[in-house]
């Protein structure tokens, strides 16, 4: 891992610890103003779920760093993929919980009850305290999420990306609670549940995108960028390198995303097909490995024909 990437990883680890610390404070604050309000209870449960992505990240990174062994010959890189699935499932689960919970409240026409609270000898509406708590607890996720989004691309760490989405979900539900509580204040009993439903569909979308990407990653789908919007540029670099081999008649490669690093299987049809130069194959192996720190392992196979799935893809995009 190059110096700058390692620095980014250290920053990301620190950031996730900060996130956990902030969550502990957030959960405590919300617990104190919980009252018997259902809206706040939902916000609280959701903050509990927010613990999952940072913990998954820290455990994932820790395990992924362990070296390969005879029993685990491919190393532990997939820990990142598993962590991504765990984090993504937490995100999607939170959205589903919110949608079901809020819909039930709307159907039951349950009127949220928020009474008074006595603090410092004054009795005032608990709703104001809830709004204050939500304003305070919604600011850190905005900042933390933005910082994580900056680190996700250089690290190619999708757990970090999913966690940034979780932070987005946190502050969005915070805003939803504020709108909902204000709505309740104006006598609109449905405002709270309606605001939660609007927000949870956006969270569900993020969760779904992440779950799908995590499952695809674990199924060895073609490697994509950290946000799963396009094929990873390294795929083109690998093919470009292989195209540059003057002794090869035809080449192809398939790349697995192991989480933070890639594993490349390169296929080469030598010219003429009967001759195989071990040194040349070895050179391809090191050449591909030197392309990028993310290329963790390379297998080069001399073949008579390139498998269809490893064929050169449409490269007009490069």
């Amino acid at each position: 891992m190059p110096e700058d990437v390692e620095g980014a990883l250290r920053r990301a680890i620190k950031l996730e610890w900060v996130t956990i610390g902030v969550l502990v404070v957030t959960v405590s604050i919300i617990f104190l103003v919980l009252g018997n309000s259902q809206a706040m209870k939902t916000a609280w449960i959701e903050d509990m779920l927010s613990f999952i992505p940072p913990i998954a990240f820290l455990v994932g990174v820790q395990i992924a760093g362990r070296p390969a062994s005879v029993e685990r010959p491919f190393g532990h890189h997939r820990a990142i993929g598993i962590a991504h699935l765990v984090a993504a499932t937490a995100l999607a689960g939170m959205a589903v919980y919110l949608i079901i919970d809020s819909t039930m409240k709307l159907i039951a026409a349950e009127h949220p009850t928020i009474g008074g609270i006595t603090l410092f000898g004054q009795t005032f509406w608990l709703g104001w305290l809830m709004i204050a708590a939500m304003v305070i607890t919604s600011v850190p996720p905005v900042i933390l999420g933005r910082m994580k989004l900056h680190l996700a691309p250089p690290l190619h760490n999708k757990v970090l990306f999913a966690d940034a989405d979780m932070n987005k979900a946190d502050w969005m539900t915070g805003v939803a609670v504020i709108v909902g509580v204000l709505g309740i204040g104006f006598g609109l009993w449905w405002a709270d549940a309606a605001a939660a439903i609007v927000v949870s569909f956006s969270i569900l979308r993020d969760g779904w995108v992440n779950v799908r990407a995590a499952v695809k990653g674990l199924l060895d789908a073609r490697a994509t960028t950290y946000d799963d919007t396009e094929p990873h540029p390294l795929l083109h670099q690998v093919q470009d390198y292989l195209d540059g081999l003057d002794w090869a008649e035809d080449t192809g490669a398939r790349v697995r995303d192991e989480g933070q690093v890639f594993q490349v299987e390169a296929f080469v049809v030598p010219r003429p097909t009967s001759s195989i130069d071990i040194d040349a194959l070895e050179k391809v192996r090191t050449g591909l490995k030197n392309l990028d720190w993310k290329v963790n392992d390379v297998v080069v196979a001399p073949v008579r024909t390139i498998p269809d799935v490893a064929r050169k893809r449409d490269r007009t995009t490069t």
Partner: protein, 154 residues
């Protein structure tokens, strides 16, 4: 975007409400200078029956509250379940009868702040509350404020 939109629309759609928080069913408005419909479940010393008259700590409490709102009290006697069902259907504004903060009716009714604490014969601390209809937040806050001041004056 939708959330922001909702935030902008909310104050305008509700028009002018006299209370914030407001009652979706307008309980406080109908109590104010009107009638307070109270369900009382016999449970000494909170609610007792002496001849035709209701007495007890919570009966006095309700009578005191009604004075602050210049309201007449319409009493309904009954079992807790019957009274809670009437409260849920908007036939009552308040249910009393030695309810505590841990009442199983918590999800079916709104509860006020505890007005007093007692220890029962099993040694458990009991926080005594009154039950109001769900979501009638102006009425609930008004009661809470009343209970707070009464608590402070005693």
């Amino acid at each position: 975007m939708l959330v922001v939109g909702l935030a902008l629309v909310l104050p305008t759609t509700t028009g002018c409400t006299t209370h914030f928080p407001a009652d979706p069913e307008g309980t406080l408005t109908s109590v104010d200078g009107g009638t307070l419909r109270v369900g009382a479940s016999i449970n000494p010393p909170f609610v007792e029956e002496k001849g035709e008259e209701l007495t007890g700590d919570e009966v006095e409490l309700v009578e005191d509250y009604a004075l602050t709102r210049d309201a007449d009290i319409e009493w309904t006697e009954g079992g807790e379940e019957e009274l809670m069902s009437r409260l849920g259907h908007g036939e009552l504004d308040l249910v009393i009868g030695g309810l505590t903060a841990k009442t199983p009716w918590a999800g079916k009714a709104g509860l006020t702040r505890p007005y007093t604490e007692t220890t029962d014969r099993f040694g458990t601390r009991r926080k005594h509350v009154l039950a109001v209809p769900l979501g009638e937040n102006a009425f609930l806050l008004d009661l809470d404020t009343f209970l707070h001041h009464r608590d402070g004056s005693q």
